[in-house]
């Protein structure tokens, strides 16, 4: 039986379109976190290109049918970066963009960390270290069912300090889960500082390699390099792949870039305005979330 085509990935999202979209998603993310007065900007901004490449150019999914069983799955193991994921899901129509303005609020749809009851979210996460096991479980089920769906899992680099990640890594390799791709957002920072200072991870590529993964390193802010990595991961058979995406925490906003202090802090009005100005440059970027939040800011609403 021929399966129905998925609206995503969509060819119209070439690099120029993605580049513009990424700016908008960065703005949405910061507006949401400002509006919520709490949240995690640093690790959201480092994942913008990783996630937009995935959600617009790779993941087979259908916002009109979030529960389609033949869809690819995505597990945001570093659940605190959910603002960027929520921004993408809203843009693709999983839920009204209006919800972005109620992030982390009583009565709102969008919880502080991903929850399965939110349309488009494939796993409940936020307690670090649990996501790769979930991805493995989905991938094992897909193999049982003869489905060709692919599971993607995004992990933080600090998150790799959780033992469960390595327990899961053994499972991925043991069951030859070539339908699992782990992506590591290698921004070099966690809450208490540099990963190499808090609890060293290097040599990281060698670790994944020795755990039985096909390891690919890439520039996590370059669409073309991410595509090279994703293509290579999908083409690899007989073993799982791990993409180490080299990124900068807070990328796109100079005063947040590579600053551990911006891990879990909400920008003030002035900081939000400065960030948006820098992200947009000479481009005209618009979204309903930006309109609401920045409109309120201008009107002195908050």
């Amino acid at each position: 039986m021929k399966t129905k085509a998925f609206p995503y990935p969509a060819v119209k999202y070439d690099d120029a379109a993605l580049e513009k979209l990424a700016r908008r998603l960065r703005c949405d993310t910061l507006c949401m976190i400002h509006q919520a007065s709490s949240g995690h900007p640093g690790g959201s901004l480092s994942s913008v290109e990783i996630l937009s490449t995935l959600y617009y150019q790779y993941l087979r999914h259908d916002p009109a049918n979030p529960e389609r069983t033949d869809r690819d799955r995505f597990v945001l193991s570093k659940g605190h970066a959910c603002p960027i994921l929520y921004a993408i899901l809203a843009e693709q129509g999983y839920f009204p963009e209006e919800e972005l303005c109620h992030l982390r609020r009583v009565g709102g749809l969008l919880q502080g960390h991903p929850s399965l009851h939110i349309p488009g979210i494939d796993a409940s996460t936020g307690s670090l270290g649990q996501g790769l096991s979930l991805a493995n479980g989905v991938a094992l089920a897909a193999k049982l069912d003869g489905s060709d769906l692919h599971t993607w899992c995004l992990l933080g680099d600090g998150e790799l300090q959780e033992g469960q990640v390595w327990e899961a890594a053994m499972t991925s390799a043991h069951y030859k889960l070539d339908n699992v791709t782990a992506i590591v957002d290698r921004n070099g920072l966690q809450i208490d500082g540099k990963t190499e200072k808090v609890m060293a991870l290097e040599p990281l590529a060698e670790k994944w390699l020795s755990f039985g993964f096909h390891v690919i390193e890439c520039d996590g802010h370059s669409f073309s390099d991410l595509r090279r990595a994703y293509d290579e991961a999908l083409a690899t058979k007989g073993k799982p792949s791990c993409i180490i995406a080299n990124t900068h925490k807070g990328h796109g906003v100079s005063f947040m870039t590579d600053q551990a202090g911006w891990h879990g802090k909400s920008p003030s009005v002035e900081q939000l305005q400065a960030a948006v100005t820098e992200i947009c440059g000479d481009k005209k970027i618009e979204s309903s979330c930006m309109k609401t939040v920045l409109g309120e800011v201008k009107g002195g609403g908050r």
């Binding site: 919520a36 709490s38 009583v106 919880q111 307690s127 600090g158 033992g163 966690q190 208490d192 609890m199």
Partner: protein
């Protein structure tokens, strides 16, 4: 037994002073300061964290100017199981480790290590269980500690103390440092009303009567709910003429059955108020204690077996009816049954 019965005897702040936001305190601030003081006085005290040193304020040890103190801080990265195990190892070698993380991760991610590496050998590991309850706020359900009391008090050898407010934390640290076996200190995250003073008594293993009442009702409570329960008791006294007793079960394990039962004998009914699931928490503990010898009809006021949702801490207390008006409403509901 003689009951310490009045607000005066307990040297509590007046509820007006407690409500004054200028007096509010966050447990982590007083915890960090108390830990630093302790580490200064006691060379065997060490501190551990799992990438949350600023949030738990174990950073006070890490950032101590005196190198003989700062060298006693260990960050193990984001690995709670390893955190607890390493703490246990330090205790095996004669140290008094203060192991820090959010309550939900300590109790939830490292329960197996707490059980076998710490409680079974009865090691003097101290847990700084910050971020208790739902007043954790916007981080939401994944970060709420609403099952911690249930799963920790079921561990043999565990001592479970619940900080009433920020002001009480240094007292608890001082009183428990040499207490035998493992001690878990449950604390809230945000600045909240302070009801205790430096003169308010605290002894590990004791419950205290914070409000003496009439023959109708007792409210057993713990932690940050003590303030809201005292407020609720005043409302019930003035508006409903009920005049409840309020007992602060400051230590949840070992439970002060004596005090709990003595008050139970004075009244017709009781309610247990806690920022925790209604199953397995203080409510369960009180019911277990009374069922055998002093059965008392009890109502359970807590989280109604749900994961809740993200929100600002005060909003959440209102939403889940754990602020004073909410408690009053739920007590009335129980009494009208």
């Amino acid at each position: 037994m003689a009951l310490n019965s009045t607000v005066k005897e307990m040297r509590l702040l007046s509820l007006t002073d407690a409500a004054n936001r200028e007096n509010w305190q966050a447990c982590k601030v007083t915890y960090g300061a108390a830990l630093l003081k302790l580490a200064t006085e006691r060379p065997e005290v060490v501190a551990l964290d799992a990438d949350l040193a600023n949030s738990t304020q174990s950073s006070r040890i890490r950032d101590a100017k005196d190198e003989s103190i700062s060298r006693r801080f260990f960050d193990v990265g984001i690995s709670e199981q390893d955190l607890v195990g390493t703490g246990a190892g330090l205790a095996l070698a004669g140290k008094i480790p203060y192991v820090n993380s959010f309550g939900v991760f300590l109790s939830g991610r490292a329960w197996g290590q707490i059980r076998v590496s710490v409680c079974y050998p009865n090691l003097p590991v101290r847990f700084g269980g910050s971020y208790g309850g739902i007043t954790v706020g916007p981080d939401g359900p994944t970060h709420f500690a609403i099952s911690d009391i249930a799963i920790l008090r079921s561990l043999p050898n565990m001592t479970l103390v619940s900080a009433t407010d920020g002001a009480q934390v240094p007292k608890i640290i001082e009183a428990t440092v040499d207490y035998p076996g493992p001690v878990y200190i449950r604390m809230g995250r945000v600045p909240l009303p302070v009801v205790t003073t430096a003169e308010t008594p605290f002894e590990t293993g004791r419950a205290y009567v914070y409000r003496k009442g009439g023959g109708e009702l007792v409210l057993y409570t713990t932690g940050h709910s003590v303030y809201d329960t005292l407020e609720a008791a005043e409302i019930l006294a003035t508006e409903d003429g009920i005049d409840p007793w309020v007992v602060n079960v400051n230590t949840i394990k070992p439970l002060d059955v004596d005090t709990i039962a003595t008050v139970a004998k004075q009244v017709k009914r009781g309610c247990v108020v806690e920022e925790h699931n209604i199953y397995g928490g203080l409510g369960g503990a009180v019911a277990e204690a009374l069922a055998g010898s002093h059965p008392l009809p009890l109502g359970f006021i807590g989280i109604e077996d749900e994961f809740c949702e993200s929100g600002e801490p005060m909003e959440l207390l209102r939403e889940y009816k754990l602020d004073a008006p909410g408690i009053v409403e739920r007590v009335r509901g129980y009494l009208s049954k």
